[in-house]
Amino acid sequence: MAVAVTEVPDRVPVYPRLSPGMMGMYIFLASEVMFFGTLFASYFYLYGSHQPWPPPGSHPVNWWPIPFFNSIILFSSGATCHVAHLGIQAGNRRRFFYWWVLTIVLGIGFEIGQAYEFVEKLAPQWISFLPWVNPSDAMAFSANPFATAFFTMTGFHGLHVLGGLVILCILLWRFSKGQFSQRHHVGIAAGAIYWHFVDAVWAFLFVVLYLLVTFPNGYQGG
């Protein structure tokens, strides 16, 4: 059963070592970058054409405490996601499973924090039984351009985290069906890249929408 030896064609190109699945995810993320870029561009356009910013009458947001802890939670989930990815690369299914589940738990924690912040600002009367909630701190969606942009940007990021959680859960389900192995886990790699992307967007949101609004003139100390 000898197979005819064909001549090796000259100059066979070396294709990118990336699998099509990973390549597709990277290319797709370019359009996601443009989507959040659109939101940021709109924010800075409104920022540049309205002084003072945020416009008077809006309750300014604060980076402390929930956004700060949410940042820690989300960035930690990026780290755990990476550890889980390393786990499957090393063929350690147990390590992948626990760290992946921890990533999902952290992601859910972030979403709960975000939901709390939205309720606290949009509908504080719902949680007025909490002693530290002050209904006068409400900020309506339509109050002014800052409030509009704030809720739209954090809201769309929250929806992307939700989408990321759905992806992580689907991947976990596929993992439980034995569809991934040390050599074949493009889905996990692509899902992890998506999760890192939503983490990175949060870094920009946290700086622009929280830190720069809380400290418009820079941190004055004390």
């Binding site: 059963m1 390549m23 561009a41 002014n144 409030a147 739209t152």
Partner: protein, 549 residues
Amino acid sequence: MATVAQPQVIDEAYERSLWSPITVWLTTTDHKLIGIMYMFTSFLAFLVAGIFALIMRVQLAQPNLNVVDAETYNQLVSAHGTTMIFFFVTLFLTGMANYIVPIMVGARDMAFPRVNALGFWLVPVSIGLYYSGFFAGGALNAGWTGYPPLTSKHFNPGLGVDFWTLSLIVWAISGIMASVNFLTTILALRAPGMTLLRLPLFVWAQISTSLLLLIVGAPLAGAMILTEIDRQFGTNFFTSAGRPVLYQHLFWFFGHPEVYIMILPGFGMISEIIPVFSRKRIFGYESMVLAIFGIVFLSMGVWAHHMYTVGLNIYVETMFMALTAAIAVPTGIKFFNWMATAWQGAIEFTTPMKFAFGFLATFVIGGITGVYLSAVPVDTQLHQSYYVVAHLHYVLFGGSVFTIFAGIYYWFPKWTGRLLNERLGNWNFWTMLVGFNGTFLIMHTLGLDGMPRRIATYAREDWAGVNFFITVMSFLLAFSVLLFVINVLYSRKHGVIAGNDPWDGNTLEWATTSPPEPYNFERVPEVRSFMPLRDAKLAAAGSPTASDH
């Protein structure tokens, strides 16, 4: 040798004809069937939007007519623009590329066939959403651009605007899916030896188009989402408390590259057709690729030339003016390359070649008026006049649609196995060329005379003669499309059998059967230049192969 594996029939149902059970079409992930569905759907959109245009022309045939009332006219203008731009030209080109690009690069399908199917099936959703407006109290009536405050809830409470924004969000998602798929297919699934600089120019054009839609699709969706949030929640992105001009920036950051999304695949087709029917190599392959990316790069920095009259800073306007005029340079390079390709070639005036030359002649007029309009003082005068209508139809119809017809006549034998009728094709071409120029050439003078566009009627008696002439000519144009439809219906059954390679082509799609099997190639050919089939034919004839490219 006896054990050469026969490729398995992947999709038995594919073997059946176009009229096979609907389930084949509903469930297919074959890029060729999806491509045909794209083209069929968007051609229906073309016919509908063409009828809208005819109604508008009847309305404008004489002053003060009231064939349709002003509100209906506004809806027709908006639907004509939206349908032609989003649902016809862009999607038809996506369909052609869906069919041809994987074969041209020697792949067996797109990289993500199911994403491809999903991307297509979002198209009827998108079109259905837009046209739902007509049955829900009136579709969009603010022009295809939909500027606020014309689209704000306060001034436009109907559902038409909401259906429009949702439709375009779905459209953008579909387009992004297609773009991701095309780019991955072209980068990852090329045949052995198909280096980047051996890609056919149509494939390069599809890379640039996909890149553009990938980058600007999301800003379009963003603009639509913010419009809808403003409408539903009373928020302040584009209201007077926010900034209405912000919408125009977002929209035109999409809208201008969209022009190139609609023309670059056409450029690619012309770059395939002219060398084949001139029996020459394309002149300046590398400069063609560079020119495409020059256009891609510049097209994302010129959007504010649609906004000269909103009161931008004069220095900003000057920058946009310079960048806009600069696009003429890469486009000019392409033009001269096409002419140099045809120069002293053994030209065969087949119907695709006629359309290609028709494209060269009409598109150059659109290009020159484009440079003219890029000047701030000129545009300030001509903005919102029929001059702009004439210009945009010269680039969109004389440009994109002529290339689409050239491409259909060129690839129809590959899609169906039969040639389109040359005699009907000749009539189709000449009636279209005369009808098109008769309709739009004289609109330049109407614009210079100050006739405003998008207005339901006019009062000046001295515009009546010209407008009547335009209306008559627009029906000639419609007649040419009718001839084309007849040609397709006739030739599908009774056309001349084409064989694999009716045009003596250069690229890989002519190396396989017509129509190709589901797996495209039994054996992927070896690629040594950007004209792999020509190399193979020369080698078979004993000539030295074309020098390595």
